[in-house]
């Protein structure tokens, strides 16, 4: 089920950091961080920001482009409220 909020306090929300490359370049690697929103056979969706808990910006990442993925412990996340 797709998650549409970014509350790290919610147990079901996993904050993940993903190392990836794009389709055109397998040498240069990128990384991103956000909430794992949904996953299917070939892709996963990561949400970056939300307004009143509704995700606005997200990225669908092809699994074949993922080099590494790790779950971030909420204690590793700094807060700026």
């Amino acid at each position: 089920m797709e998650k549409n909020n970014l509350k790290k306090e919610r147990e079901e929300n996993q904050i993940v950091e993903i190392i990836l490359h794009d389709d055109s370049n397998t040498i240069k690697k990128y990384k991103c961080v956000g909430v794992l929103m949904k996953e299917n056979e070939k892709t996963l969706r990561i949400g970056f920001n939300a307004v009143e808990n509704v995700v606005k910006d997200y990225l669908d990442i092809k699994k074949k482009n993922i080099v590494d993925i790790k779950t971030i412990n909420p204690k590793e996340i700094s807060s700026l409220f």
Binding site: L6, Y30, G34, N49, E76, S79, L80, F81
Partner: protein, 178 residues
């Protein structure tokens, strides 16, 4: 720019013609925005990168010198953080009567994708001072121009009915000199 941050902030917004011309404006409030990313303070801006190069740990000042792009992210005024909204109870609003024509200069959040951009936009809005709330003002019949970065453009292109601007975004407000 390697630390992971969870940031809660607010943003300005407008109410467009679809709301209805003759409808009484509902109670206005600022919405809560939230983001995850790699954040760094740059001047009075907070740059939140959603995506970056894996090995990139350079400071923003270095990136600007090298004209490096921010791959994807947002830039918010440092005063947009939720905890700071009511700490800006400034007197600049006190002597301006509701219903008067005003000019407001303010800083706006910007979404960046593949641009060498690390600071907020600057906006100029003319309108009627319609509401003065604790953490925001409302301007009626506003006309807004983005004055930085150039080119100068209207924002939005079609004039909305109202603009809701967080007080903490406002640089200055003054009556229109007729």
């Amino acid at each position: 720019m390697n630390r992971i941050y969870n940031i809660k902030y607010t943003d300005a917004y407008y109410i467009d013609l679809s709301y209805g011309h003759n409808k009484k404006l509902h109670k206005t409030k600022l919405s809560e925005h939230e983001a995850y990313g790699y954040a760094e303070k740059y001047g009075n801006n907070i740059v939140i990168a959603f995506i970056k190069e894996e090995k990139d740990d350079r400071k923003i000042s270095d990136k600007i010198k090298r004209k490096e792009h921010l791959i994807k992210g947002i830039i918010v005024p440092d005063t947009s953080i939720l905890s700071k909204l009511t700490s800006f109870k400034r007197n600049i609003f006190k002597n301006i009567p509701l219903g008067s024509e005003v000019v407001v200069n303010w800083r706006d959040i910007v979404i960046v994708a593949n641009q060498s951009r690390y600071d907020c936009s600057t906006m100029y809005t003319e309108g009627v001072f319609f509401r003065n709330e604790e953490d925001h003002i409302v301007l009626k019949n506003p006309e807004t121009i983005r004055t930085y970065p150039t080119p100068v453009t209207n924002h939005p292109m079609e004039k909305p009915l109202f603009y809701v601007i967080p007080k903490s975004f406002i640089v200055d407000i003054s009556p229109v000199n007729n």
